[in-house]
């Protein structure tokens, strides 16, 4: 019998081949089984399934996004540490701890995981948590689609991690340029894992992009014109617009490479294909993608800085226009990623200038944040610390970006460590620091208590110092001629700098450990840090006008907005009324409550995600029956869900009122103690 019909390309020989890979695989399996065992031990499967996995509440979906992203961060950071150890030790006759091809798998996995599953994951998590609250809505436009997006994200994450255990991962870098990524040069399943993992999670992101675009445009509460919308929501609008326009290009690029590899087509191979077309396509998505990630971080700082400076955001309108300018410009700069392709001086000049021009709207934002602080009464809580770190480092990263934007300089620096240092400066100090600030800032709104300050600060200082040590040397090494993706080098004078970078990475790991301890300590001491008012930071926007943790329906009575900092104005105008002072309009029991319709939980998103996972897995291993079965199953689930008419439930006005009364009473008792 022909077993390949049943198992495709799967066989025993594919299990990990060396110690480090075995270690990775074992850790993965242990963590996975450990989690499952822990849940089973606490008999938590039922509640987990009912309250979380099938939930359509964006707040819960948001939390799940962030949990998955943090787990993926552990994986991505482990890869980073391995690379740092390798480069610190692999000089001259020494060859470090991993083989060359394993090193290539590691940087490919690190880059892909960090971008697609860490940064995108935390971003969609925060958007889910906060956008509906900020625009005064009870839900997103398409709650089921939201859950589906999340499960596609999880399916992608599983596929990329499976490569640790079965077969190997791509060695072609985080963007898999052909011809290296083509079947002739990457004959194993590595690139297919990469392709399907990104394809599936990318489609999830695209659906989310559509969802939040519509949510922001269509579901804002009464009175909130676009120019009265909080800045975070504005940047998310820009970011989701970029997702909607750029992710289809990613879908196409990945699909074409898949067709080349699976069906012998010639998009990027000799035989009439054109490999530079891939590079153009992937960066036509890739450049907008970096702004997809960083715009929401800008938005977070635009919320954090005014609140902790006690002043309104300086230059709101210019902030909005700079978002729009960035969105527009980010589509006409992609070629700066391959000036060396040889497009010619005039083309390079155009793209170089356009790239430098992006510094202008970004600079506008920088200045506005600093103006907001000017003459403000600044409170240095952790979110503000992340911001301070960001301002300094991001400016540095921006300046080195402008250096890279000059084609002449780029010919020297291209594919060197200077570049690696540059983009990590943008993505760690811009994106990650921003998200960390956002997580700390909005944590009480979701969980009802604040994160521990002391450990937050420790985390910040470790991250900051670690970052400078880990990436500062790379700028220098770049000038010394070190190229990226080196598993070994011969010049011993580079080694000290690589060792410093390794120490930096270790300090970053300490920083992350502090964040985990912070979480643990905060949960333990939560009773001392309860947020009973719903407004722990003296906030300005609608999300602070409701109790913490936000009830399932968000707003008992949908708000009406008259100004930009609506809640701030409300507090200013009702200084006497203590209930409004702390908890806004919504806990005003004199108001008439009404029945609230909310979406019912459903397992459909989970089911379709599972089908998609098996689809991707089958495709990777050419197990065609599995592919066909999962297509049929997925389609059937989708049709069943779409034609299901019983998807909502009603919370009665009486229940809402009772709940709100309880929250109000709790607040008043706390006031009196």
């Amino acid at each position: 019998m022909d077993w390949s019909l049943l198992f495709g390309k799967l066989s025993w020989g594919l299990l990990p081949e060396n110690a480090v890979a075995w270690g990775g695989a074992t850790t993965m399996v242990v963590i996975g089984l450990g989690l499952i065992g822990l849940v089973a031990y606490f008999k938590a499967w039922g509640p987990l399934w009912r309250n979380w996995l099938t939930s359509l509440d964006p707040k819960r979906i948001g939390v799940m996004y962030i949990v998955v992203a943090l787990i993926m961060f552990v994986r991505g950071a482990a890869d980073a540490v391995l690379m740092r150890i390798q480069q610190a030790t692999s000089v001259g006759s020494a060859h470090g701890i991993v083989t060359a091809s394993h090193f290539q798998e590691i940087f490919s996995a690190h880059g892909s995981i960090m971008i697609f599953f860490v940064a995108m994951g935390i971003m969609f998590g925060l958007i889910n948590l906060i956008v509906p609250l900020q625009i005064g809505a009870r839900d997103v436009a398409f709650p089921f689609l939201n859950s589906l997006s999340f499960w596609l994200f999880v399916a992608g994450a599983l596929i990329i991690n499976l490569s640790l255990i079965l077969g190997d991962f791509s060695t072609a870098g985080w963007l898999s340029y052909p011809p290296l990524s083509e079947l002739a040069y990457s004959p194993t399943v590595g690139v297919d894992y990469w392709l399907w993992s990104l394809q599936i999670s990318g489609i999830g992101s695209l659906l989310s992009g559509i969802n939040f675009l519509v949510t922001i445009l269509k579901m804002r509460c009464k009175g909130m014109s676009l120019m009265k919308m909080p800045m975070f929501s504005w940047t998310v609008l820009g970011s989701m617009w970029l997702v909607a326009v750029s992710f289809p290009i990613l879908t196409v690029s990945l699909a074409l490479l898949t067709l080349d590899r699976t069906f012998g087509m010639h998009f990027f191979t000799a035989g009439g294909g054109n490999m530079m077309m891939y590079v153009n396509l992937i960066w036509a998505w890739g450049h907008p993608e970096v702004y997809v990630l960083v715009l929401p971080a800008f938005g977070i700082f635009s919320e954090v800085v005014p609140v902790f400076s006690g002043k309104k955001l300086a230059g709101y309108a210019s902030m909005v226009y700079s978002v729009i300018a960035i969105v527009f410009l980010s589509f006409i700069v992609w070629l700066h990623h391959f000036f060396t392709m040889g497009a010619g001086a005039d083309v390079n000049a155009f793209f170089g200038i356009m790239t430098a021009v992006i510094a202008i709207p970004t600079g506008v934002k920088m200045f506005n944040w600093i103006f907001t602080m000017y003459h403000g009464r600044i409170r240095f809580f952790t979110p503000m610390m992340w911001y301070m770190g960001f301002v300094v480092l991001f400016t540095l990263g921006g300046v080195t970006g402008v250096v890279l934007a000059e084609p002449v300089a780029d010919y020297q620096l291209h594919n060197g460590l200077f570049l690696v240092a540059h983009f990590h400066t943008m993505i760690v100090s811009g994106v990650l620091f921003g998200y960390f600030a956002g997580l700390t800032y909005w944590f009480p709104k979701i969980f009802g208590f604040k994160l521990d300050e002391k450990w937050g600060r420790r985390a910040f200082w470790n991250w900051l110092i670690g970052f400078i040590l880990a990436f500062g040397p790379l700028y220098v090494l770049g000038f010394m001629g070190a190229t990226r993706r080196l598993d070994h080098y011969t010049d011993p004078s580079w080694q000290p700098l690589f060792i410093i970078a390794g120490i930096g990475a270790a300090i970053i790991v300490l920083g992350f450990a502090c964040q985990l301890i912070q979480l643990f300590v905060s949960i333990k001491n939560r009773h001392q840090a309860l947020d009973t008012t719903g407004d722990p930071w003296n906030g300005r926007t609608l999300e602070w006008s409701i109790p913490s943790p936000a009830p399932a329906y968000n707003f008992a009575i949908l708000p009406m907005v008259e100004s930009r900092d609506e809640y701030w104005q409300l507090k200013a105008h009702n200084e006497k009324d203590v209930a409004i002072q702390a908890t806004g309009k919504t806990i005003d029991i004199r108001r008439e409550y009404e029945d609230i319709t909310m979406p019912r939980n459903t397992a459909a998103g989970f089911a379709i995600g599972a089908a998609t996972f098996f689809f991707g897995f089958g495709f990777v291993w050419h197990i065609w029956w599995l592919v066909i079965v999962s297509v049929i199953a997925g389609t059937a689930f989708l049709i069943m869900r779409t034609f299901d008419e019983d998807t909502e439930y009603i919370i009665r006005a009486g229940e809402v009122e009772a709940n709100e009364r309880r929250l109000r009473d709790r607040f008043i008792t706390m006031q009196n103690v």
Binding site: I210, L256, G264, N274, M277, T642
Partner: protein, 186 residues
């Protein structure tokens, strides 16, 4: 109240993303058009009369899809179902013609592995065909749903979306007809 408008607006946004997807495929086709690698180019393999019939089928099906929407406005369930069935049959005929065209090319040795040009041709036209197939599955599901539950609010909304989708695919086909086939033979 505004669930319908939100959904329809959302669907427009989705169509926009699909439009970007096709735009990327069109540009890939434009780049690879000359990549025939010694194999045939458009003139050698396209038959305009054949494609013209395909086009007529699809345009007519768009028309009947429009009819179903009008019938829905007047609440005429039977007419809706009938015109949807006609639409589906026309769509099916279109798919059959496309498959036979693909099969003929493949049998002549001009399949998707022959050259970059043919890869991009199959990918672009095939993606459109795949959309049509998805539309057909949706149409059949909707016909069943309308037969079972009548022209409920949600079924009517789905009908509106489906016809938007169908017209959109028509529009894409016009582009394919012009850029791939017409420009291909001149």
């Amino acid at each position: 109240m505004n669930k319908d408008t939100t959904t329809i607006f959302g669907f427009w946004v989705y169509l926009m993303t699909d439009f970007v997807l096709f735009a990327s495929l069109f540009s890939v086709f434009a780049v690879l058009r000359s990549g025939t690698f010694g194999g045939p180019s458009g003139v050698d393999i396209f038959s305009l009369p054949f494609v013209f019939i395909e086009t007529c089928l699809l345009l007519t099906s768009s028309f009947t899809a429009g009819l179903s929407l009008i019938a829905a406005r007047y609440g005429k369930k039977i007419h809706v179902v009938l015109s949807l069935i006609v639409t589906a049959l026309l769509g099916l005929a279109f798919v059959a013609m496309e498959v036979s065209e693909f099969a003929k090319l493949a049998l002549e040795g001009n399949d998707w592995t022959r050259s970059g040009f043919l890869s991009s041709y199959f990918a672009l036209v095939g993606t459109h065909g795949l959309h049509i197939v998805l539309g057909l599955i949706w149409m059949i599901a909707l016909i069943v749903a309308i037969l079972r539950k009548g022209l409920t609010r949600s079924n009517t909304r789905k009908l509106v979306l489906l016809s938007l989708f169908w017209h959109f695919l028509d529009l894409i086909w016009i582009f394919i007809f012009t850029i791939v086939y017409l420009f291909g033979v001149i």
